[in-house]
Structure formats: structure tokens, C-alpha cells
């Protein structure tokens, strides 16, 4: 029962082997994911409570002990809003990663190994979907939705994430399927299905994981752009892009309410990119050593 072993020492060793920037990125990602998941249990203010109604707070306040990151143009607590806003960004990118790697990754690994007509059909479909500029296709799909709930946005973005993963997985699967150990497995009479799951997919996984981190960063920007255009999850649900769009109207008075959600988005994207790069480089060293 290997997987029941305490995973913490291994995780600690992995953490110790990271360069400083990657450590910081990992800490940021873990912290923001933790905060987003447990937002309801953390001592946060109601993200939609407008303090100026009862005269408790003013609009566009600067940071203070009462409002750690100040308030927005409706005197809502910005600290609490970026954490609740993280829920949208992170959920959408999580769904995209899961849909992309499970469906796209599997499909790509499968057709890269089996080849033939199925491969041609799958890759032609992928090419057509990738022939659209991403945001434009996303806009076209979102337009006709009656409601824009977190579920709807996640499903659309998740669906659009499948083709690029398929392409990455297929490219890797193609080269791995030509390797000696795959040939050897076939030669001793292993069924094709077993070869796919035991030999090909485990070796495609590392590159999919490295791609997933960078792609997740891309999805956060994509969702942010959508929210900035007012076409992501509907208000009053806070979204980073929506907060930026709202705060930019007061930018002549104060830049701070723009700075807070922009910072949250940029740091998250930067963290994912940095960790993703590190994972990719580690994978390359390993691949070369084989």
C-alpha cells in the first residue's frame, strides 16, 4: 500500500529543492486556494455588504485595520472581495485543467498511440476549434447564454480547454509510442489497451502537468478579460476582472481599488507561470536522462 505512506516528507523534500521564486509562487498558490475554499469559515467581512449605508465605512477608503485593503466604490471590503473573487477565477481554471487533461489529454494520448483515421478526424476537429482566436470564440459562446452562472462559464471555458491539451498530449504520445520500451511491451504480447494505460499515458502525464499549470494561468487571464468586459459570472458575485472594470471608473480619484484585484490576478498568473516553467524544466532534465 505505497500510496498510504505519509506524503509530507516527500512534499517537504520537493519544496526544499525549489528555487526561491518557485517557493514563493507555490506558497502564493497554496494560500490563495486555501483562502478561496475556506472563505466562508475565515473571519472575513461580507463581500457584498455596503458599509456606507450604516455609515460604518466610506467609499474608496484606503487600507486600515478595519478594511485591510480598503473599500471599493460601493464601500465593500476589498480584502474579502478578492478572496471571494478568487473562487471564480480558481474554479474556472480548475475545471479547465480537469476537463483539458482528463478529456483532451486522454484523447491526445490515445490517438497519438493508435494513429489512423480516428487520429485524422480528432486532429482536424482540434485544428478547426483552434483556428478561432480563443477570446473571440469564448465571446461568441457566452453571448447566447441566458444565465451566466459560475457553472455555465466553467463548462464553456472547460470545453474550450480540451483542444490545446489534445494537441500537446498527441505530440508527446507520438514520440513516446515510438520508444523502445513501448515496442518491447508490444513484443511480449501486452494488449494494446494495457500498453496505452501502463506505458504511454504515464509518460505523457508529466508534460501534460507542466502544460496544465501554464494553461491555468492563461485561463485566469481569459476569465479576467471576460469579467472585465462584464460577460463572466454575473454581479453581485465578485470577480477579479469585474472588480478591475468597476474600479477603473474612479481612477482619476484613486488607483488603489484597481491595484488590489490587478495585484491578485498578476501574482496568481505569475506564480502559476513560474511553477509551471520549473516543472517543465525538471521534466526535460529527466527526459534527457532516460
Amino acid at each position: 500500500m505505497k500510496f498510504l505512506k505519509n506524503p509530507f516528507p516527500a512534499m517537504w523534500r520537493l519544496y526544499r529543492s525549489m528555487p526561491l521564486t518557485v517557493k514563493l509562487g507555490t506558497i502564493w498558490i497554496v494560500a490563495i486556494v486555501f483562502a478561496a475554499i475556506f472563505a466562508d469559515f475565515l473571519p472575513l467581512k461580507d463581500p457584498n455588504y455596503q458599509g456606507f449605508i450604516m455609515g460604518e465605512s466610506k467609499v474608496n477608503e484606503g487600507p486600515s485595520l478595519k478594511h485591510l485593503l480598503g473599500t471599493d466604490d460601493l464601500s465593500r471590503d476589498l480584502f474579502s472581495r478578492i478572496i471571494y473573487g478568487a473562487r471564480v477565477s480558481l474554479t474556472v481554471s480548475f475545471v479547465a485543467v480537469v476537463a483539458g487533461s482528463a478529456i483532451g489529454g486522454f484523447l491526445g494520448a490515445l490517438v497519438g498511440y493508435t494513429r489512423g483515421k480516428v487520429e485524422a478526424a480528432v486532429m482536424a476537429t482540434v485544428d478547426v476549434i483552434l483556428a478561432f482566436p480563443g477570446l473571440v470564440l469564448l465571446l461568441a459562446l457566452v453571448t447566447f447564454m441566458q444565465t451566466r452562472s459560475l457553472f455555465v462559464i466553467s463548462v464553456i471555458v472547460g470545453f474550450l480547454s480540451i483542444p490545446p491539451y489534445t494537441r500537446v498530449a498527441r505530440a508527446n504520445s507520438l514520440s513516446i509510442s515510438r520508444r523502445e520500451f513501448v515496442l518491447a511491451a508490444r513484443a511480449i504480447g501486452t494488449p494494446r489497451r494495457t500498453v496505452l494505460f501502463r506505458e504511454v499515458i504515464p509518460n505523457v502525464l508529466p508534460s501534460i502537468m507542466a502544460y496544465a499549470l501554464v494553461a491555468a494561468a492563461g485561463v485566469i487571464v481569459l476569465e479576467g478579460s471576460l469579467a472585465f468586459l462584464g460577460l463572466s459570472v454575473q454581479p453581485p458575485t465578485p470577480t477579479w476582472g469585474g472588480m478591475i472594470n468597476q474600479a477603473r471608473k474612479d481612477i482619476k480619484l484613486t488607483l488603489f481599488p484597481v491595484l488590489v484585484p490587478s495585484g491578485a490576478m498578476v501574482f496568481t498568473v505569475l506564480a502559476l507561470n513560474t511553477v509551471g516553467d520549473w516543472v517543465r524544466k525538471r521534466g526535460q532534465v529527466r527526459g534527457a536522462a532516460l
Partner: protein
Amino acid sequence: MVKTLGLRLVRLLATVFAVSFLTFFMTSLLPGDPVDTIIPPGIGERDEVLVAQIREELGLNDPFLVRYGNWIGDVVQGDFGKSYVTDQPVLSEITARLPVTAELAIVAVLMSVFLAIPLGIASAYKQGKAVDNSISAVVQFLLSVPPFVVGIFLIWGLALQAGVLPATGWVRLTESLTGNIESVILPASALALSQLAVFTRLVRADMISTLQENYVLSARAKGLTDGYVLFRHAFRPSSLSLITVVGLNIGALLGGTVVIEQLFAVPGLGRKLLEAINTRDIIVVQGIVLFISAIYVIINTAVDLIYMVVDPRIRVKSA
């Protein structure tokens, strides 16, 4: 060569055709009735006879494939239909706004490429030194800042604080040259910065491997100056991958223009697309999405062809 060219053109047409089908498919089968755009429901009594008449006129009662056939048949002849909202031909709405978006995109690409080349070369030349480390750090950071965030900070810094450039709006080239240049600088820079990061990274990585080649060593041994070797000998092969990545990034750029045009109130194609989305003007959305995607596909094919012309190795392989 001619055969390859023909094959590429056939593939191009097939892709554009498939893209048009998918565009129509998406926008037709999703919920929402175009008649609701023309006669919004809930405002007074709805004349059901009139609604039925409009449905018949627009051919909405026909089966899906017939409707697609009619639409694509007209599109091929340059007729993208008429807007449900403004009653203007969709094509003229597109061509009226295309020059604005094209100018924005071209200026952004030129800015990013011409900055990325010296930065990438300097970074590769001074690999591991302070210059390289600081360029790489800035690039990594820029890579993570979405264009619309860059845009807001540019507006804040250069338009509101320094007051040197207009914050929003657009002056057409035909009205005033200086006004046009002033209005294009900020939105184009916002688009260019994230592209700049991608290109600089690429040039650096490419140049680092090229600089280890023997012919670079022999050029240096001949006594040529470093600058001459860097640009004339080492950079030339790297320009190939740069062309490809610039082509691939046109998609991100076209998506970016939608957001940037909205932020800077630039009357381009992207802004029209958003307008059409918000008024549920389906036929305009279809037209613009197809148009932008077709341009993207054509540019990518063109890039492949340029690549073939520039690099003899690929020409031989594919012929």
C-alpha cells in the same frame, strides 16, 4: 513547391469552411430567438402575425442545414446579411471598422517585434549576467500582466498623471496624422507589452543555442565585430522562429484588441463585436467572428508559406 502551395490553399479553404460551419452552428443552436432582438418581448402587445412574418422573411423556419447553406452562399458572394438592430449590411459595418483594428494590431506587432529583437539579443549575448537577469525578470513579470491591466496603468500614468497622451478615444488617420498617432500609442503599447515578453523570451532562447554554433565561432575568429556577428550571422536563423511565433500570436492579439478597444473606447471591430453581443445582434456576431477567424487562418497559412520561402530546408522536405 507548386503542389505544396496548392495543398495549403485547399487546406486553408477547408478550414475556413469548417470555421464558418462551427460559427453558424454555435450561434444558431444556442438558446435565444433573433426575433426577440428585432421586437423585444414584454414591451406592449406583441403582434404574433408580424413575428411569424419576420420569422418567415429571415428564413428561421427552415431546417438548420438549409439556413446554413443560404447564409454561407450569401457570404461567399460578399453578403453577410443585415444587422437586426441597425438594418445596415454587416459587411459594410465590418469594413468601416476594420482599418482601426488593423492599424492597432499592426502597430502593436511592430512595436513588440522591434523592441523584442534588441532585448532578446542583448539578453542572450550577456547570458547569466546582470543585464540578462534583469531583462528576464521583467519579461517574466510582463508575461503575467494581462493587456487590460497594462492598459489601465498606462492610462493612469501617461494620460491622467503626466497628461501627455489622450486617455481614450480615436482620431482617424484621415482627420489628423498627429492625432491618429497620439491615439494609437497607448492602446497599441498595452497590446504590445505582453507580446513583447513572449518574443523576447523566444529570441533569447534561440540566440543562446545559435551562439554556440561553429559558424559563429569562425565569424568571430575572422575578426568580425560582435555586433556584426550578432545581427548578420546569429540573428538571421532565429528570425524564422520569430516569424512563426508572431503568426501564432496574432490570435491572442486579435482577442486582445476586443478588450483593449473597449478599455480605450477605440471604434474597431472588437468594440462592434461587443456591441452586437450586448444587443444580441446574432447575425453581426456571426459575421464578425467568421471574419476575424478567417483572417487568423489566412495569416497562419501565410506565415507557413513565408517560412517555406525563407528556409530552403523546409522547402526541400515538403516538396
